[in-house]
């Protein structure tokens, strides 16, 4: 069948509450570029009964604007796990949990690490971040708490891709591996490029 020109398609009950089915499972309803879907009723917004899935990766939604502005495009969301690894100050560790959530270019990580192996007096550094810190993440910081009670700051670096820990009470004094007890919990938000 070719093209049908109509002004309105309504449910046969004409009560405004019926369901109109377009296509069948697996089929594609093609909406040409430039078409606007408008809610001209009295209720606000558009209600969907399931998740939205794009058929192309890295597509998103422009939020808060009426034109396609790159700075308003939310095109990435992801949850997952990562593996903190000993880089300096200790030679090994156990991971109780290590998770991340990425929203746009913002990545928030959380980790609980325990069972430090061979802690030394060197500055504690942990590697294994889930995403590469961007060039704007040179000083991105979060908080940390060790089993010894030391409260501090976790700082990531774009240059090293690692996390370095500092005591919160003194000037840029680093956590050292042999003064932390057996474990550490920390959270941190940083940006990717």
């Amino acid at each position: 069948m070719g093209t049908i020109y109509v002004d309105e398609i309504k449910h046969q009950s004409a009560q405004g509450s019926g369901t109109i089915t377009l296509g069948a499972s697996g089929e594609t309803i093609n909406i040409p570029s430039g078409v606007t879907l408008t809610n001209n009723g009295t209720q606000t917004g558009l209600t969907l009964s399931d998740n939205i899935l794009f058929n192309t990766a890295s597509k998103g939604i422009y939020l808060g604007v009426t034109t396609a502005t790159a700075s308003n495009l939310l095109d990435d969301y992801e949850e997952g796990t990562w593996t903190p690894a000993a880089y300096a100050g200790i030679s090994g560790l156990g991971v109780s949990q290590a998770t991340y959530t990425k929203i746009g270019r913002s990545v928030t990580i959380y980790a609980e690490v325990t069972g430090f192996v061979s802690p030394t007096g060197s500055a504690l550094q942990i590697s294994g971040l889930p995403f590469t810190p961007g060039s704007a993440s040179l000083y991105m910081q979060g908080t940390a708490e060790s089993d010894s009670g030391a409260m501090g700051i976790a700082r990531t670096s774009a240059a090293t891709g690692r996390i370095t820990f500092f005591y919160g009470t003194t000037s840029r004094t680093t956590y050292v591996g042999n003064n932390l007890g057996g474990g550490l919990r920390f959270s941190l938000t940083y940006f990717t490029d």
């Binding site: 997952g80 550094q125 889930p130 891709g161």
Partner: protein, 87 residues
């Protein structure tokens, strides 16, 4: 009813000036071939990383992206930043 667990590459991306390789591994739980659960695990690799334990597909991407010029630029940037920031 067969339930199996498999780990596959979810995504490999080469990002940024220094060609960092970001690797996402997906763990899938399948029941009779249908995915009923999926989790993602991530890590990334910079040009001076040891990639011997990475999957061959990831190693190939690293070796393609990390030219000597890229490696040299990364080492220089890293040294500059470490001098600036300390640890």
């Amino acid at each position: 009813m067969a339930i199996i667990k498999e780990t596959v590459i979810g995504k490999v991306e080469v990002v940024g000036e220094f060609k960092a390789v970001q690797v996402a591994m997906d763990t899938l739980i399948k029941e009779d071939g249908k995915v009923i659960s999926q989790t993602r695990h991530r890590h990334f690799l910079m040009p001076d990383a040891d990639i011997t334990n990475e999957l061959q597909e990831v190693q190939n991407i690293c070796n393609t992206a990390w030219t000597q010029e890229v490696k040299d630029a990364w080492i220089a940037f890293k040294q500059e930043q470490e001098n600036k920031l300390g640890v």
